[in-house]
């Protein structure tokens, strides 16, 4: 066990692709946390989806024993943070368990907007931020320019920024020394009564709830009784220890340390993230500040294709929210899709990942409807309502004014791509608020309707800047706008789950693009399928999926049925991925057609 002076708790702030996970892997390797044969690449990204997409979604931690050049052994607790703009909430959670953060910047690409935002969060929380220049092995590395950028854009001293290459292993030990030297040890009285913060909780099918905690004061031991502050419920520690990154029981966690606690909590809401653990003998110890709840920015309905799966779906959502407090859900009923949930997400990536996790980890077949932001509607009777679902928009006659959310967007872009980025911002109905030239980069501030930002702005921004522009955004205000609900009618019947809210200027274009895309996605059926887009009663676009003339195997020799059987079984399996709306079979993908429209 380490005394406080020999503990360092840190996070890594980095933009996607700037090499955070690779650097973490190097640290683990250097400290001998895993034998090299166990080093699956990027060991901390443990969810399949994280590995596949090369991004971090959930906070993870690892405890490393580092023998420094002064001969002393330090306990390094590294708490991983997600790097995508959608997950900034997770970042502040991870940072609250640390005394310092490494700001990893690609020495070729320079500072990115997301890192700027996260650095500010770290500085606000009183963390020591240490700049690390990564990818020094690449020919385009320009450390002096990037140091200058760090100082100009973020405003921290970068003169002794540590040059490394996580890929080749260059400077890894220097970085560890730098970390031990600069990041302050944690404070906390080990003799005082227990006070520990839940950084993360997740559900394990064998163990029940597993929580990642940071002990602020006192000691928590195996078989100790503790109370969860918010629920007031008492639990006994079954297992306690650290991640190396394998789970290793240590029997106790002391003030300053980070590790896991398992206490036989079966109720998935039993150990909420941000809650405080105190000793059962010292109930008067106050709760720690916890985390600010973030408001979801994007809402979509999720339904099971088979109504038999509804209960499983509800359980799965409950389990997911345990360690993803930013996921919001409430029951929703759709005429077309039946019972499901309206879910709120931090952004589109978050939405995709949740759907993927539900389908993969819980084996559900789901339909997600077109995502929407939250609108404010002032009714003629003076009532102000918030609408997160196009189908629950009040009657047009009752609406005095519709207001859309505006996002304040901070964009960092190399000068070469400035023109492209400005064009994109204008196309997305953006209003420029500020523009500053900082070194080789330009810092742009735009107010852009949230609906445009969450849809595909980030991807478009990346493509018009060859990946160099970066984005951070947050909700700014509601603003009056000319908006309408674009309904989609299938064979004359309005399908509630297909409605979207659009700006008046885009009605024609969106209506046409949406119906064209749906025509591609809906397979031919026994009758013509008319797809119409309409505002109020007025049809603005129409497409027809022509009927199949027939679907019958012409020749069938009764003798050998095997091939025909396979054909019919395949047809049946394909049908399971369809939703019957009225008489029309609509594939899952058509409900998200709005996202697949080429812009």
């Amino acid at each position: 066990m380490s005394d406080l002076q020999h503990i360092r708790n840190f996070s890594i702030i980095a933009h996607i692709d700037h090499g955070k996970s690779t650097l973490a892997d190097r640290f683990i390797q250097h400290c001998g946390g895993l034998a090299s044969r166990e080093m699956a690449e990027q060991v901390l990204d443990s969810m399949d989806i994280e590995r596949e997409r090369g991004i971090t979604i959930k906070a993870q931690s690892v405890t490393l024993d580092y023998t420094a050049r002064d001969g002393q052994v330090y306990q390094l607790n590294f708490i991983d943070t997600p790097g995508h703009v959608d997950f900034s909430y997770e970042v502040s959670r991870s940072l609250s368990a640390c005394e310092g953060a490494l700001l990893v910047v690609d020495a070729g690409q320079g500072v990115e907007a997301q890192s700027v935002a996260n650095c500010y969060t770290a500085i606000e929380q009183g963390l020591e931020v240490l700049p690390i220049l990564n990818k020094m092995d690449l020919p385009q590395a320009d450390p002096d320019k990037v140091k200058l950028e760090i100082e100009e854009i973020i405003g921290i001293d970068a003169s002794d920024a540590c040059p490394v290459s996580a890929k080749t292993g260059l400077g890894i030990e220097d970085a560890l020394e730098y970390l031990v030297e600069k990041i302050p040890p944690p404070e906390g009285d080990r003799e005082a009564p227990l006070q520990a913060l839940i950084i993360d909780s997740w559900f394990d099918n064998y163990l029940g709830v597993v929580s990642l905690v940071r002990v602020k004061q006192g000691v928590l031991r195996k078989r100790d009784k503790f109370i969860i502050k918010s629920t007031g419920k008492s639990h006994q520690v079954d297992s306690i220890g650290i991640f190396t990154p394998k789970r290793l029981e240590t029997g106790l966690l002391q003030a300053g340390e980070v590790g896991f606690v398992v206490a036989g909590i079966k109720d998935i809401q039993g150990a909420p993230v941000g809650d405080t653990l105190v000793s059962a003998q010292h109930l008067d110890v106050p709760a720690l500040p916890g985390f600010k709840r973030v408001k979801p920015q994007v809402y979509a309905g999720i339904f099971t294709i088979s109504s038999d799966d509804y209960e499983d779906f509800r359980d799965a959502l409950a389990k997911l929210t345990l360690n993803d407090a930013s996921l919001f859900y409430e029951p929703e009923t759709s005429d077309a899709l039946g019972f499901g949930f309206r879910c709120g997400f931090l952004g589109m990536l978050h939405m995709e990942i949740i759907q993927e996790r539900l389908e993969r980890e819980y084996d559900l077949d789901l339909i997600t409807t077109a995502p929407t932001v939250i609108y404010e509607v002032l009714k003629k009777n003076g009532e102000l309502v918030q609408v997160d679902n196009p189908s629950s928009l009040p009657d047009v006659g009752d609406i005095e004014e519709m207001r859309e959310p505006i996002a304040r967007c901070s964009i960092l872009v190399p000068q070469d791509y400035l023109g492209n980025v400005i064009t994109l911002c204008v196309e997305k109905r953006g209003v420029q608020k500020d523009m500053q030239f900082l070194g080789a980069q330009v810092s742009l501030t735009y107010d852009i309707p949230m609906a445009e930002v969450v849809l595909d702005f980030f991807d478009r921004l990346k493509s018009v800047s060859r990946g160099y522009a970066s984005l951070d955004y947050g909700f700014e205000r509601f603003e009056a706008a000319k908006l309408s609900r674009l309904d989609v009618l299938i064979n004359g019947d309005r399908v509630d789950a297909l409605a979207i809210i659009v700006h008046h200027d885009q009605v024609q274009y969106r209506g046409r693009a949406l119906t064209e895309k749906m025509k591609e996605l809906i397979p031919r059926q026994m009758f013509d399928v008319a797809i119409q887009a309409a505002i109020g009663g007025k049809v603005v676009a129409r497409q027809t999926v022509k009927a199949l003339r027939k679907n019958v195997t012409a020749k069938c020799y009764g003798g050998d049925v095997s091939r025909k059987r396979k054909l019919l079984e395949k047809q049946k399996a394909g049908k399971k991925r369809m939703k019957q709306v009225g008489n029309v079979e609509i594939p899952q993908s058509a409900f998200l057609a709005v996202l697949k429209v080429d812009s």
Partner: protein, 379 residues
């Protein structure tokens, strides 16, 4: 438990062809010389092993398919037929069909086949247009086809089927209808009239020909139906047309989920046992392996149908028939109660794809055109 075993047919596969057609996905093999004697011996030895499956039933029909069965000599067919009737009792109105290619060499044997006991001939004409026949890779000409039909009549085949395909590469709708008119000029008792479909594992699948567009296919289909109906034929099955009373009994037995023994390379059989179990099996596919097989080793694969298999298997056959099926027959032939198919029946009749009248189930006119959609509901 089944109260009564279904009627029994016998399928015999003769696997050789002069040339394999590019659309054909049956178990057929090109050969210049056919080991006739050895193959007939193998067939009869195979049949010895099948006798237990007959369970004392008499044969109501047999069907010799291929390949090109008419490549065999009349003497070989006579040996085969004699061997069969020596082993199994034949029903009173026994139907014995043989497939024949309308080439001149084959036509000369028709009388011999008739004398051997074959009483129904199925001629693989496919088209009366030389260009189309060539595109299909057929070895015969239009003139040979005409001659073969005439020869079949002279040989005493009053029960004659003409196989015709439509939707052929580059076919215009008038050409497709001309083929039907040509066939009808012979007043055939039976027509198998079906659209060319490209099957996997065929030459056409690898190098697809240009097929007519959907509108042309529909024009041929609808125009052809009108002509056939006017000629007094009716479609008793999706692709099978006949004069009243001249339906192919062997095929009807397939479609009504009857039983059939199978002998010959790659032949498929289906047998119901008194305890209610139903088996499907197939003989070894390669002619060489088949002929070398010892007694009892002819079978290549065998499986028992499960309760989940049965509704789909029954319906994919029974609903091909215009008159459909008695619901009671479903229970009789599968041993399952009607409750097992209650849900799909309700859904399909609500969509207007099937009709249930007086205990009889059949497809509606629309349902018949979308038969695969209908049948998929039972899987």
């Amino acid at each position: 438990m089944l109260t009564e075993l279904p009627p029994l047919g016998l399928y015999i596969h003769l696997p050789w062809c002069e040339r394999k057609c590019p659309y054909c996905d049956f178990n057929s093999h090109e050969a210049q010389v056919i080991p006739e004697q050895a193959y007939i011996q193998a067939l009869l030895q195979d049949l010895d092993g099948e006798l237990a499956r007959a369970q004392g039933r008499q044969l109501s029909s047999l069907f010799i398919g291929g390949g090109t069965p008419s490549l065999f000599s009349a003497a070989a067919i006579a040996t085969l037929m004699a061997g069969i009737s020596a082993r199994l009792p034949l029903a009173k109105h026994f139907e014995a069909t043989m497939e024949a290619n309308p080439g001149s060499a084959e036509a000369d044997k028709f009388a011999g086949f008739r004398a051997a006991g074959i009483n129904r001939l199925s001629l693989g004409v496919q088209s009366f247009n030389d260009a189309q026949l060539q595109a299909l890779g057929r070895v015969h000409s239009a003139a040979q086809a005409h001659a073969a039909i005439a020869m079949a009549g002279r040989a005493g085949f009053d029960n004659l089927n003409i196989d015709l395909m439509h939707g052929l590469p580059g076919q215009q709708s008038e050409r497709g209808l001309d083929d039907i008119r040509s066939a009808l000029s012979y007043q055939p008792t039976h027509l198998s009239w079906y659209q060319l479909t490209i099957e996997p594992n065929t030459l056409f699948h690898k190098r697809p020909p240009t097929l007519p567009v959907e509108d042309t296919l529909a024009a041929i289909q609808e125009g052809g139906e009108d002509i056939l109906v006017a000629a007094g034929l009716s479609a008793y099955e999706v692709s099978a047309w006949s004069l009243p009373g001249r339906e192919c009994r062997h095929n009807l037995n397939y479609w009504s989920f009857g039983d059939y023994l199978a002998i010959g390379a790659g032949a498929h059989g289906k047998i119901t046992w008194p305890d209610g179990r139903i088996e499907r099996y197939a003989k070894r596919k390669q002619p060489k392996e088949y002929m070398q097989a010892q007694a009892g080793a002819f079978t290549g694969s065998q499986r028992w149908l499960s309760a989940e298999d049965l509704p789909g298997e029954y319906m994919m056959n029974a609903l091909r028939l215009a008159e459909g099926t008695e619901l009671q027959a479903f229970t009789q032939r599968t041993g399952l109660s009607l409750e097992t198919i209650e849900a799909p029946l309700a859904a399909l009749s609500q969509r207007g794809l099937i009709e249930i009248v007086d205990g009889k189930l059949r497809c509606s006119a629309v349902g018949w055109r979308f038969l695969d959609t209908v049948v998929a509901e039972f899987f």
